[in-house]
């Protein structure tokens, strides 16, 4: 595994060497795309997904690094779409983080921390994927670092973590929409959640359960 990565970086530097012929107007005219106004570049970056924004754009040059760190680009964090393909340790995103950032243990939790840090408290829309490694820590991070959160989508949680949801709600005063991937299972925590939403989220309007609705399982 390690040697494969080494080889890859050698291939990249060899490819770089072959492009020197196109360098005719290097220092005088420089690359206009390197000196482009940040505002203008942010327009381009708005159309990139988080993966490109995290793993490629900041390494292009200094100006691009500045633009890619613009918090407005990190307001909507859809980490649920294609989550299986995106966050697998052998996926392309993991490979890019290993090769470009030397990250050897790429995983969802680190990517979430990165996104939330880039948003600098401005994240408004977060969708978490199923099968979180440590749901309690991840929900804690989101509720603490995303005080401007308006929409939150959460996967099916272990009962213990689900029971903790009500105490996270006061940290999210702007919350408008809460989406569960499956019907909350512990009937006891649901009234508490509803009470907290009513007490702490004046703009709250919708609660949604997505995914397949299964019939109630008979008690064992």
């Amino acid at each position: 595994m390690e040697t494969a990565v080494q080889e890859k970086s050698i291939i990249i530097s060899a490819a770089t060497a072959t492009t020197t012929t196109t360098r005719r107007m290097s220092s005088a005219a420089a690359a206009p795309w390197a000196d482009i106004e940040t505002d203008c570049l942010v327009h381009v970056f708005r159309r990139l997904d988080l993966d490109d924004l995290a793993s490629a754009a900041p390494l292009v040059c200094r100006g691009w690094r500045r633009a890619a760190a613009d918090p407005s680009l990190w307001r909507a964090l859809d980490l649920r779409r294609d989550h299986l393909a995106r966050f697998m340790p052998w996926g392309p995103l993991a490979a890019a983080f290993k090769l470009r950032y030397g990250v050897h243990r790429f995983g969802f939790a680190g990517f979430l921390r990165l996104c939330v840090a880039r948003a600098r408290g401005s994240a408004a829309d977060v969708a978490l994927p199923p099968l979180l490694a440590s749901p309690a820590a991840e929900l804690d991070l989101v509720s603490l670092e995303c005080p401007r959160l308006r929409r939150l989508a959460i996967p099916k949680l272990p009962a213990g973590d689900e029971a903790r949801l009500p105490e996270l709600i006061p940290r999210l005063p702007l919350l408008e929409h809460l989406e569960f991937e499956s019907k909350p299972s512990s009937s006891s925590s649901f009234p508490a959640l509803a009470a907290q939403l009513a007490a702490h989220c004046p703009r709250f309007t919708s609660l949604k359960t997505s995914g397949a609705v299964k019939p109630e399982e008979p008690p064992p």
Binding site: T16, T20, C40, A56, C61, G102, G107
Partner: protein
């Protein structure tokens, strides 16, 4: 000063304005097309740009301006309809075909266009070019992006800076 016609093109004689590029080429164009630029719209509403005096655009050269105006002329009728709720599917398909072809150009021209669209505040053109550039860099590595957009090879300083930035990311994964 003459009161500006309420240029609805009611009797065929649409109001024209003159724009002057940074290299002093004069372009005469319908006010409705030039008004796709938020910046120009204000001047034109004030009655500027008509007759002998044109509107100077010191940041836009003639090659870029003619391309920008090509876009504006094509999009002006739809824009006048306010997003064209009654445009036919054929009209929309034709605009889409035009747009796709319009941005099928070298990255250096895309750069001039996005800067001009930014300066002149032509929202549709800015989005169109931004989307094209985003599509060109999607899924590419930093070096592939640099090559696609004609960056020179990184200087040793830049390389060192990139390496330093690499380390910055480590924290999120500890």
């Amino acid at each position: 000063m003459a009161a500006p016609e309420s240029g609805d093109g009611n009797n065929g004689a649409a109001r024209m304005v003159t724009l002057i590029s940074s290299d002093n080429t004069r372009f005469e164009v319908e006010a409705a097309a030039a008004s796709l630029s938020q910046t120009l719209q204000l001047t034109i509403l004030d009655g500027g740009g008509g007759g002998g005096d044109g509107i100077p655009l010191p940041n836009v050269d003639s090659a870029t301006l003619s391309k920008v105006l090509e876009y504006c002329i094509k999009h002006a009728p739809a824009a006048a309809n306010g997003g064209a709720p009654n445009a036919t599917a054929v009209d929309r398909a034709e605009l889409e075909r035009f747009d796709n072809e319009f941005v099928n150009i070298d990255q250096s021209v895309l750069y001039s266009l996005i800067m001009a669209a930014h300066n002149l505040e032509i929202e549709g053109l800015q989005s169109l070019v931004a989307k094209k550039v985003a599509d060109m860099i999607k899924g590419k590595s930093p070096m592939e992006i640099r090559r696609t957009l004609g960056f020179p090879d990184p200087t040793p300083e830049e390389q060192a800076e990139m390496n330093a930035h690499m380390l910055e990311y480590g924290w999120a994964y500890e």
